[in-house]
Symmetry: C3
Subunit: 260 residues, 3 copies
């Protein structure tokens, strides 16, 4: 583990230098991955440059900062650690603060599982060392929480109590106490960004039944329909077409319902 971390550190140091030299579009590979593409799939190197870096990441319908948030959320939700170090590095280059990366990993511990968050934290730790990100740049464990929207929370709580209560009261209680009255109110990741992370993870993992609530919440939190539409394209490339295509019908239902 230590040996590997050390080796990764070296690789990252090298790539860290590379990042300084070029604009970061999140689609630049680490030396090791780049050589893998050259020696295994030259076509992927072409798609990386022309389609990802040259077209997807250039589309202003979603900012590069948002694209980085979607991409690292997909990779953490799907436990895709192979390129996570590089995507976290370009996220920093694209304006995602270390404190926000810390909160994204924390948020996904609850939305994609504890083990996924631990794997991501192990990768982020090496990057933070390379980028000299100190604990002073991270959110504290117990910050002053954002004020809660009591009305919306009462509606949510009643709905979950009604639907989940008969099956698992402890799940109802944890959902309120830990997620909506605590995690979602942590101040170092804006509610709109927290929703972007959640929706990206849901689409990337195929949990279509959970999308309506969170896509509506995301749009209530400020995500525009144009941005939400573009999130589907970003997820298509990083989680695969089937994940994005499976989310289209439910997204359509949400968009139509909000127009009325």
């Amino acid at each position: 583990m230590k040996k590997l971390a050390a080796a990764t550190l070296i690789t990252l140091a090298a790539s860290g230098a590379a990042y300084a030299a070029e604009t970061s579009n999140g689609a630049d590979d680490l030396p090791v991955a780049a050589s893998s593409l050259a020696m295994v799939a030259p076509a992927l190197e072409k798609y990386r440059k022309e389609t990802l870096a040259g077209r997807l990441w250039q589309n202003g319908a979603l900012s590069t900062r948002d694209r980085s948030i979607v991409t690292i959320s997909v990779m953490i939700a799907r436990n895709q650690t192979a390129e996570l170090d590089q995507q976290l590095a370009s996220a920093l280059d694209n304006g995602v603060k270390p404190a926000e990366i810390s909160e994204i990993i924390t948020h996904l511990a609850f939305y994609s599982g504890w083990g996924n968050a631990i794997a991501a934290a192990n990768v982020a730790r090496d990057l933070f060392e390379v980028r000299s990100v100190g604990v002073d740049q991270l959110p504290t464990a117990s910050p002053t929480l954002l004020p809660i929207d009591r009305k919306a929370e009462d509606v949510r709580a009643a709905s979950v109590q009604n639907n989940v209560g008969p099956v698992s009261q402890s799940l109802v209680d944890f959902t309120g106490d830990v997620l909506f009255k605590d995690l979602w109110l942590r101040p170092d990741l804006a509610p709109r960004d927290r929703s972007l992370v959640t929706v990206s993870a849901l689409v990337a993992s195929g949990y279509v039944g959970q999308i309506p609530f969170h896509l509506n919440r995301a749009m209530d939190n400020g995500l525009t329909q144009e941005e939400a539409s573009e999130v589907l394209s970003q997820v298509a490339f990083y989680a695969g077409w089937p994940a994005a295509m499976s989310a289209v019908p439910v997204a359509k239902g949400v968009f139509e319902a909000r127009r009325k």
Copy 2:
């Protein structure tokens, strides 16, 4: 591979000592992971101590042994190897026998895929070395099988023949010969625990359509509704909320049908 295994061995040896020192609630991190949390997400360290160790694992509705079985099943089913070594170690501390861990990995080779089991076996091998678990403590390859419930098996076989036969007869044959007339009858993991492993993997992987048959089988095998309800909370933390929430409606249907 060898180098990595060696490094892991050292890490585990260290943590192995730690485990001897503290009660094991399955939510204690390896030194490396713990430092990742401290250096990346102090909030996760707080949730680990207060919410996981302090609340979830303390809830007597499900024993710590059962919680360990659910947790390692989730991690194997989702290929979350980052913390699997530590969860396997605490499973041993919580009374899950090495022979049972061996059977859980074998069972999940069929319920979450061969590659997931190989990854888990690689992690367990290092732990078994650290804990001096010898082959004499493992189930033999071909033990005397438990007696089969002929009546229940005939019903299952007829149903699968009817539904799957027209699509893939070889899948029907393997399901009977390898799973229900062999794997499920292996004596070193109780049918109730085998069902607990299966249901945990199904919920963690989002295969809701497969839950009714196996949740009913689990309850027929002795899992109580209170325990099944608590499994959903345990899975929520280790596989993510969307997995648990997606399983709620089908679990509700099973609970209601059994009341009639």
Copy 3:
């Protein structure tokens, strides 16, 4: 990273020798994995020999070459890297050309996500070095594409425009420009094999809603119903029973509709 690659190289070199010595049925483990089974789950070693190597891979309903294509597609789609090196090695032994492996990884970058493809490319790179597979054996980045079936493409394009257009026009555009007018027309992987890869990935990942279109396309491209049925059994062993069983109803629907 480098250290790990080096270690893997050694392991592969050793196993590479092993492969020369025995027929490859894709169910032979690397020394390290084999020792894990012996030291953790002797039952899995028995299933590997008797059920996988002795029965599944011997069933002529699907060729060993096709079984290798299905197996590596499942492992890449599910990010199961633990045994991917060995399965890629036996794929070569079973007649899957290095150029085809390169295209399979490229294809799955779009059907299971960029990060999954990068992880697979890292593994394949080490194997290609061991097997002395040079860049001259790989497809070029921009080869002459196969002729497109204009009529079928117009139908597909109209359907996607109609269903996806109102939700994400950029997803519609990428689907046409990058997938069906480019990726699917790359000549180094036959359309029938490309469909086999796609269907295997869809079943392995539980995207049942996407199966009808691609299973029909696979059969239009030459996959027989007998082969498609056997794909379900192959996927059951490598992605787990729940994945295969969840695909049975939709496969049945496709088979019945094509009979009319």
